[in-house]
Amino acid sequence: MNSLAEFFSFADPNIRYVVVGSVLLTASSAIVGTFTFLNKRSLIGDAIAHAVLPGICLGFIVAGTKNPLVLIIGAFITGWLSLIAVDFITRKTRIKEDTAIGLILSVFFGIGILMLTVIQKSGNASQSGLDHFLFGKAAALVGSDLYAFLIVAVILLVVVYILFKEFALMAFDKAYAKSIGYPVRTLELILTSLIVLAVVIGIQAVGVVLMAAILITPAAAARFWTDRIVVMVLLASAFGAFSGLAGAYISFVAPAMPTGPWIVIVISTIAFVSFFLAPKRGVLYRLVRQNNIRQTINNENVLKVMYQLGEENKNFFIPRHLDEIIRRRKYEKRALQSILRRLLHQGYVEQTGNLWSLTEEGKKKAQRVVKIHRLWELYLTTYMKIAPDHVHEDAETIEHLLTPELEAELEKQLGYAKLDPHQTKIPYQHE
């Protein structure tokens, strides 16, 4: 635990630089990335990350030194150019957007690599370190880098804060934003400039290839925990900041470990955990819910069959053999047995030997399902004018889904009708 204490005391200025730098980069990229994600343009970030390389080289050729401002201007120009090119190709030719993105990304990057190798062989001594833009150098951040990062981070935060409402609306309903008079074109321009800015400084931490991850992975993870965009932005930046911190810590403990890739591994792990375990949207939650619904439907269907058998004999509590149920509705014997055992456990049926009968509770529940089924059939024939022989399938579904409120409403609307479209009696509870 010693290393942990040493790390978090931030006594070593190098640790301070790396930590502050990484956290600034990841958190601010994540905030901008949230809007990229919501606009469904995740791969655009990837394209820009590759396309800034020729701009950086160009900036270097023009300035002759690694003047950060010139490099950033250069990066800005080609980053923008790549977006314009993608847009132009998609609009003017029959090439689809994904192809255009891949094309521009690889061609711009190729040009960048060509320029970089030419510069490296030019003999200009100050070129060393340009390749940090390729692979990132989070572990080697120094004080002067931090000022540049801090300025960019502040710009990103302030602009997003001021235009938050506009960006949010554009992400969800561009047409509406336009119709109420938002300058959509300008806003898109600003947002894209922010992405370019985030990418330009972000690639110095994690490198070209992994830049897309620190833009969109935090947002993808945050999306699984909330439906509110403010919470999503905050959560994404928190995930980003945490991964920046964790990446810095890992490369502090194991100096041979590259910081950038570890930041990405940490943020990806957070994302995978979110995909699987997040309540409501996570894979696991969905599976459990699906399973619950399937069980409820099976339960109710078996109860319904037993009720219908009871209607024929005018006695709902006669014990039934499995085969009697199967004759009415097809089940695997084993599956039916497990459903019945579940119902027994819930107190809806009783077992005597190998015979099964409804309890009072079970009859009540089955009666409700049957009632809703028949009411719905009646509703469809009366209000929707659907032929009586076409309404059964629909009612088979709705009988498991209707809420008590809607059930009461339906009864009232149909005036507590006695018979369904097939002239079968609709059973009400009080009878």
């Binding site: 994600f37 990057f109 692979f135 041979a256 890739p261 894979v283």
Partner: protein
């Protein structure tokens, strides 16, 4: 002779990539190709650790598997976790690439790979790795044999499965109606992409693979409406980019892979403007004539 070896290797890579690229861009899977070419990195490192060399059957098998795994993961996130496709692709390949880079750092002493090589390869070294017969005759660079075999495999794959690939690309509904499994051919195609990526990795690097997968195919797509011609033209565009790119790189004394990628973009731009059928220039002319 070295010039010839390098150009031949690049052309072989370009042809394999161009052929597969035609299917990728028509299936709107260009970015999946991009993702696979980055995501195979951990597979390469692991296979290297197991087999101890870069050119082995283990590596190709590993690559095929990891390509399928990448595709599967992207689909899983999209279908099961309901993540939008673009994000699913972005999250998956960056994660796998990061894992690959970390693996390289962990096994730095045991794996002869570095990040530069991964991104833009070193095709200039192709002529150095020669195959010498037992009697001492120089049989030429190994990369040419590897890429030659891969190209033959790709051609056999496309010729043998032409009907299936064609139908699953253009009319998946009809294909499954006549009993062709769309997902089987989907995964076969992705395995082919991974195998090509991995075998070309050493010589040209990830980024040129992506450029060669997409640019020549996109160029051909603007030049013809006939699919067979598209395959041929894509190869031609790829070879042309390799040839001109090589001489550009020699002239500038820069990265050959970078120059080939740049040239493939310029060839695309030319096709975009001057294609007789779909070019912007002739479209404009026709508009004016009307």
């Amino acid at each position: 002779m070295n010039d010839f070896y390098i150009i031949l290797t690049a052309s072989l890579v370009a042809s394999s990539c161009a052929l597969l690229g035609c299917f990728l861009i028509l299936r709107r899977m260009a970015m999946v190709g991009d993702a696979i070419s980055h995501a195979v990195l951990p597979g390469i490192v692991l296979a290297f650790l197991f087999s101890g060399s870069r050119d082995s059957v283990t590596m190709l098998l590993g690559a095929g598997l990891i390509g399928v795994f990448t595709t599967f993961l992207i689909e899983f996130f999209h279908k099961k976790a309901k993540l939008q496709t673009d994000a699913a692709i972005g999250v998956t390949f960056t994660w796998l690439f990061a894992v690959g880079v970390v693996l390289i750092s962990i096994f730095a002493g045991k794996v002869d790979l570095d990040q530069d090589c991964v991104l833009y390869g070193e095709i200039a070294y192709v002529p150095l790795d020669l195959i010498i017969s037992p009697s001492g005759t120089n049989l030429g660079p190994k990369a040419i044999y590897v890429m030659g075999i891969v190209l033959v495999l790709i051609i056999v794959f496309i010729v043998a499965g032409y009907k299936e690939l064609f139908l699953t690309t253009f009319d998946p509904a009809y294909a499954s109606a006549i009993g062709i499994s769309t997902s089987l051919w989907h995964y076969l195609l992705m395995s082919a992409v991974s195998v090509t990526t991995v075998s070309s990795f050493e010589s040209v690097g990830a980024i040129l693979v992506v450029a060669l997968l997409i640019a020549p195919a996109a160029t051909a797509y603007l030049l013809t409406d006939n699919f067979k011609w598209m395959l041929v033209l894509a190869c031609a565009a790829g070879i042309l980019a390799s040839l001109s790119g090589y001489y550009l790189a020699v002239w500038l004394d820069g990265s050959i892979a970078g120059a080939i990628a740049a040239l493939s973009g310029i060839i695309f731009a030319l096709a975009m403007v001057f294609s007789p059928t779909h070019g912007l220039f002739f479209k404009k002319l026709r508009q004016v004539a009307h």
